[in-house]
Amino acid sequence: MLRFAAGGLAANKVRSALTMLGVLIGVASVILLLAVGNGSSVAVKESITSLGTNSLTVSAGSAYGGARGAGSAKKLTVADAKALAADTDSTAIRSVAPVVTTSGTALYGDISYSPGSIVGTYPAYFETANQKVAHGEYFTDDDVLGSRKVAVLGATTAKQLFATEDPVGKRIVLGGTPFTVVGVLEAKGGTGFTDPDDVVIAPLPTVQNVFTGFGPVNQILVQANSADTTTAAQAEVTRVLLGTHAITDPTKADFRITNQASLLTARESTTKTFTVLLGAVAAISLLVGGIGITNIMLVTVTERTREIGIRKALGAPRAVILGQFLTESTLLSVLGAGLGVAVGIAGSHFSIVGIKPVVIPESVLGAFGIAVAIGLFFGSYPANRAASLRPIDALRHE
């Protein structure tokens, strides 16, 4: 029966090929578009990890804007950070880094450049903010204690100041004070308006000394033990800071805690919607491919009406005729879907609109399965029509 079906398809090679092309495009687009959607969601996940999934940012000011005007709001201080770090009950918090951010001009030789930001912090910052030194080294706790004039440069800043020169060990001038460059950070690559690589990081007291003075800090960066304990860590931070700020009513808190991971989870759900939309578009093209099968099988049945009549005259039962045309349409869809899977997987090796597609294995099986089912379903109408032809009408057909 399979041989008959293959023979039937081979008799009209161009027509069969075009029908298969319909299914092929449908299957390939399902696989490819879902892979693109999945790829962008994987990219978001990666950017969550690069930001540090288990980091919390504490900043001054009420979460509810109204309290700010009361004037009672305390700024965050190094003491708050120390209180958090000293909290022995905590199992959720791994490390704490107070952060001051300022701006200024960096000079090297006759080159002057204003980095996006100058950050003063503790060494824990590097791990929490997922900033890795690519070349050279981090500054240490000793550098913080000694207020040493050392700095780690972001990739962009290093490139602007030094071009191809090796910055490590060189002296730059920041705010009129000479700093020694000890390390250069790995490039993170920007995803937003601000370039995360356009930064100078130095020990907190040094930056306070040169720029901001020993007042409040802008932020406290808290690292939870793991992504799962961020919620616990957030509760912990709230409890400790309410204590140090002597606030009893949590709704009147004069600080806010932002969780990077939760923001990005929201973004991830957007990409999921995007994936579903892409999948729907692809599914429609698969459906159109299925209708193509119906169309071509109807033509085939009409064309072969006489042959159906002969077979019926020879005593072919209804089921045999039905089976023959169903096999033919299913063969079309199986071949089309098989080629579609190949094209889809091959196509996913190329990056599409800046997104590296990641093939979802279920989508391959699903698209193939649906295509085969479509062949059966859309082939059943023409096959049924062939099987229910009256032999006398079929034989008379010219």
Partner: protein, 267 residues
């Protein structure tokens, strides 16, 4: 006008075909056309239908001009079409009571068709063509092949088993069709103008084959409008306007067909 009078001896085997007052009408209301009419009912003037018996081993030629109802008769005999009224017993089975699946089975087991336009299946080898009715009958592949080859050698085409219809001459195609018709050992061979599309040499070949088959006891019903062809039959029916107007016996049922030539064919 002559009428068939049943004069069978009771001991004889039952007829392969028994038609009882068969009519076939097309269209509705005023536009009704009776393709099979039979004699008029003396009381009402309506059609009485065609009644006909065909004995086992007979060789009947049905003649008539186009529109005489011979093709309709052939379609009803071949269970390809159902009569409007009347009873049809094929090999003792009342065909009127069968559903589509059973009719397919009857066509498969009881009837071998040979058509004017050969009606071979395109792109299929002669062997596969002949195997087809056996495949529908559920015969196993090895047995199928053996019987199909035997049928092909009976029609003298054993060495052409692997050829497709477009690689065979008209006469050869018709011989493949004959092999296909007889491979299931049917009760009746039904041939609709089998030589209509053939040259005179191929016509002789095919008719000799049919003669030989009838000589071995196969019942043959052959539809034709050529007198040359009808001369091969033992009995000739003539149809005009859906009525049997002439019924001539040219040779006894249990004898050889009148024009049988010794071909050395053995069934």
């Amino acid at each position: 006008m002559r009428h068939v009078i049943d004069k069978r001896v009771p001991a004889a085997p039952p007829p392969v075909i028994q038609l009882r007052r068969i009519t076939k009408a097309y269209g509705h209301g005023d536009a009704v056309v009776h393709a099979l009419h039979g004699p008029e009912d003396p009381a009402t003037g309506g059609p009485l239908g065609v009644s006909l018996d065909i004995e086992q081993g007979d060789f009947v030629a049905v003649m008539g001009s186009s529109g005489s109802g011979k093709s309709t008769l052939m379609n009803i005999l071949g269970c390809l079409d159902v009569p409007t009224a009347g009873r049809y017993l094929l090999d003792g089975i009342d065909v009127g009571h069968l559903d589509e699946g059973q009719l397919a089975l009857v066509r498969n087991r009881k009837i071998g068709f040979v058509f004017q336009s050969f009606n071979l299946i395109p792109r299929t080898t002669a062997l596969a063509q002949v195997e087809l009715p056996l495949a529908y009958a559920g015969v196993r592949a090895a047995e199928r092949r053996r019987r199909a080859l035997a049928a092909l050698s009976l029609v003298g085409l054993a060495e052409r088993a692997g050829h497709r219809p477009n690689q065979l001459s008209g006469g050869q195609q018709q011989r493949v069709a004959v092999a296909r018709a007889l491979v299931t050992a049917p009760a009746m061979l039904l041939a609709d103008e089998p030589t209509g599309n053939l040259d005179s040499r191929s016509t002789e070949e095919v008719l000799d084959l049919v003669d030989a088959l009838n000589a071995t006891g196969r019942t043959v019903v052959l539809i034709t409008h050529e007198d040359e062809v009808a001369r091969h039959a033992k009995r000739v029916l003539r149809l005009v306007d859906g009525r049997i107007v002439d019924d001539v016996r040219q040779a006894p049922v249990d004898g050889p067909p009148p024009l049988l030539r010794d071909l050395g064919v053995t069934a």
